[in-house]
């Protein structure tokens, strides 16, 4: 393999890498996203070319991107985290209570406490799944109910109102830097960080190996439990962080914040090409999947489809994405081994 690459001249290698990027799974979703935006903008230019349209385009998916990034980390290790919606709801209310009950609390402290709360809740999942070896689907389904129940018990019928929140906190949710909302910048930084971790660190590569073939990973001596724990704690931390951002963005929170987000995040991950059986996909894919899902939601009414049909379109999108993945996998498997070895095609274990 190394010998083959060294024979290829630099420009050709660059070209082949570029074509690899263009043919990657993420690129397909980006193209789909651009097509949706183009079609919608053709119908109504304000969808992109107005300050509100531009802002909504960037800001709406940013919180789901954070959740989807965490979900992608978990799914890559062949697990699943259904409790993210409940963690988001609980920390959003927690942040609201902190800001209301402790006047003058530094905003940084609220973010730190919210994220740490997410770490704590994620740690519960992580210990049950990685230490006691319980199935992730059952554990996180259970904690989905527990965390939501605690949220409802605590919040009851009360609600955090915008007037109780400090202005500088709310500015964080709506403000922007050179027409790019803060929330979008935060989401991009987080996704880049997680992507870099999974792509370049030893621990990140081990996460793929664990999800690709758990038994082989154990026999190879990889610390499977630790990788799974890190993924679940990171997912909890990101959900906790996203909860505080949710409060900053929407300026209000009740006990129903984040209901159903667990399935939305799974949908984003699936659309973004992260295989649900672990071992492949990238956080960028999940992030773009989240963007595509939420942009379609906003685009449909503009192109004249009643918004009642949104969910049906999202469903078709998810099915199309997994069917396309299956088709590509089969096509790759049919190609002769020699062709696969000498091209820059991604192997199943890779991202």
């Amino acid at each position: 393999m190394a010998a083959v690459t060294s024979q290829v001249s630099a420009p050709r290698r660059l070209l082949s890498e570029l074509s690899g990027v263009a043919r990657s799974r993420e690129a397909v979703i980006v193209v789909a996203f651009l097509a949706v935006v183009a079609a919608t903008t053709a119908r109504n230019p304000a969808f992109v070319f107005s300050s509100d349209g531009w802002r909504d385009l960037l800001i709406s998916p940013s919180i789901l991107i954070l959740i989807a990034a965490g979900q992608a980390m978990v799914v890559i290790t062949r697990n699943i985290d259904l409790s993210v919606g409940s963690i988001l709801g609980l920390t959003a209310y927690l942040a609201g209570r902190l800001l209301t009950d402790i006047p003058g609390i530094p905003i940084v402290a609220v973010f730190v406490i919210g994220t740490l709360a997410g770490v704590g809740l994620g740690l519960i999942n992580a210990i049950l799944i990685a230490r006691f070896r319980l199935p992730a689907l059952v554990v996180t389904l259970g904690t989905l109910y527990v965390f939501r129940g605690i949220d409802v018990l605590w919040a009851g019928a009360t609600r955090i109102f915008p007037k109780d929140l400090p202005q500088e906190f709310l500015d964080l949710g709506t403000g922007q830097l050179m027409t790019i909302p803060y929330l979008t910048i935060i989401a991009l930084v987080v996704v880049t960080g997680v992507w870099w971790y999974l792509k370049n660190t030893r621990a990140g590569r081990e996460s793929y190996a664990v999800g690709s073939d758990p038994l082989a990973a154990v026999l190879h001596g990889l610390p499977s439990s630790r990788r799974i724990m890190v993924a679940l704690v990171a997912s909890g931390a990101l959900a906790g962080f996203a909860g505080v951002l949710y409060l900053a963005r929407y300026a209000s929170a009740d006990s129903q914040v984040g209901v159903g987000w667990e399935l939305q995040s799974v949908a984003a991950v699936v659309v973004g090409g992260v295989a649900i059986f672990g071992g492949s996909g990238s956080v960028w894919g999940a992030a773009v999947g989240a963007v595509l899902l939420l942009t379609i939601n906003r685009a449909l009414p503009v192109v004249g489809v009643p918004d009642f049909w949104q969910r049906a379109v999202v469903g078709v999108l998810i099915l199309a994405a997994i069917a396309a993945d299956r088709y590509l996998l089969l096509r790759r498997a049919r190609r002769p081994q020699t062709v696969r070895d000498t091209t820059s095609d991604r192997v199943a274990v890779n991202d």
Binding site: V75, R78, N79, I80, L82, L128, I129, F132, R133, L134, P135, A136, L137, V138, V139, L141, G142, T143, L144, Y145, V146, F147, R148, G149, I150, D151, V152, L153, G156, P214, L215, V218, L219, S224, S225, I228, S255, V259, L263, V266, A267, V270, I276, F277, G278, P306, F308, W309, Q310, R311, A312, V314, G315, V316, L317, I318, L319, I322, A323, R326
Partner: protein, 357 residues
């Protein structure tokens, strides 16, 4: 020599569980514990919660859990073959909306009911086609059709609700058996439970489900038609979800796109609580029914005891996680007895890697 052979006890390793006395084999199973717990909760609630042990409570308890109980039956079969169906609640809503639209369009109510169930069976068949024939994972597929079918239900009816159902049918859906407090719908539900018990535990088809859940490949090579079996299960799952949707619609006399929103996770929680392994290959109908009843009785008792409704969520979640421990406890015990070395760690570590599905 021959004498010695004859007097030897039969090979013991083949049926290690038969070493245990009968009472331990029946009571100390996951199902036994859940049923025992159900009994304890019923007795405690009757003694401690005022108005729990009254006919009216029983009536509402039974009629409220009927849809979940119905859908839990095919869900048990689906989980036993190591698949999952997250789209049942959306199919439930689709059935409700189909019934409403067909009836409003002038179709006789009996025909509309049959057509609604048929539409839901077709929705289940589409799931089965994608999972079995195309070969996609049931989790992503049913996450997709969860959105798709709910979208169809909401899209077809918008925000309107259809409420003009014939009185004789809505009355029938709420009727009791004679003067007793037992709802009439309990009778067909018991028939359904009986059918599922017979099919799962007393037919070759039912045995083949456990074989598929334990190892689809091994089942295939022993002559089980894995693809066809899975398609059948998803069709049944869709049809029963539609049936539950039709009942729910008539009971409340209200067809609207949001009917049954989000109950899929509650159903799966109840089934898993009842001892059906999420990895497939293990579970009973009796256990699943007991799981549904346990959550239903707890919810009803807590509501009457004026405990905040969300406490039931916390309890459901904790019990669900605890129920996963019982499976792990028995597994750990068995493997420790078989291999008293270091092999156990690697074996269970490998198993944990499969978690999630």
């Amino acid at each position: 020599m021959t004498e010695q052979l004859l007097t030897q006890s039969p090979p013991e390793v083949a049926y290690p569980s038969h070493f245990k006395p009968l009472w331990r084999r029946t009571l100390l199973t996951h199902e036994g514990i859940v049923i025992l717990l159900l009994g304890v909760v019923i007795v405690l609630a009757s003694l401690l919660v005022p108005r729990f042990a009254t006919p009216i409570t029983l009536t509402f308890l039974l009629i409220d859990i009927t849809p979940i109980l119905l859908i839990a039956l095919p869900m048990t079969l689906v989980i036993i073959v190591a698949e999952i169906d997250l789209s049942v609640a959306s199919i439930f809503g689709l059935g409700s909306v189909s019934l409403g639209i067909l009836f409003q369009a002038g179709v006789p109510i009996e025909l509309a009911m049959i057509a609604a169930v048929a539409i839901c069976a077709a929705a289940g068949a589409f799931n089965g086609f994608l999972i079995s024939t195309v070969g996609l994972g049931s989790l992503p597929v049913t996450v997709g059709t969860l959105a798709l079918y709910r979208g169809l239900a909401v899209g077809l009816l918008g925000t309107t609700a259809i409420t003009s159902f014939p009185v004789e049918w809505t009355k029938l859906a709420q009727a009791n058996v004679g003067q007793s407090g037992v709802p009439l719908v309990v009778l067909p539900t018991m028939v359904m439970i009986a059918i599922f018990v017979v099919v799962l535990h007393f037919t070759p088809f039912g045995r083949s489900l456990f074989a598929i859940g334990a190892s689809a490949e091994a089942a295939h090579f022993s002559g089980v038609n894995v693809r066809r079996t899975k398609v059948i299960l998803f069709i049944v799952s869709g049809a029963v979800a539609g049936l539950a949707g039709v009942f729910y619609t008539l009971r409340f006399g209200n067809a609207i796109g949001s009917n049954g929103l989000g109950i899929e996770l509650a159903i799966i929680a109840a089934v898993v609580l009842g001892g059906v392994s999420i990895f497939g290959g293990r579970g009973t109908i009796v256990g699943a029914v007991a799981g549904v009843l346990l959550i239903g009785v707890l919810a009803s008792a807590l509501r009457l005891a004026k405990v905040p409704a969300s406490t039931i969520d916390v309890i459901t979640g904790v019990v669900l996680v605890l129920s996963a421990f019982t499976a792990i406890a028995s597994r750990g015990f068995a493997s420790r007895r078989r291999s008293p070395g270091r092999g156990e760690g690697a074996a269970s570590a490998a198993k944990s890697g499969e978690s999630g599905k």
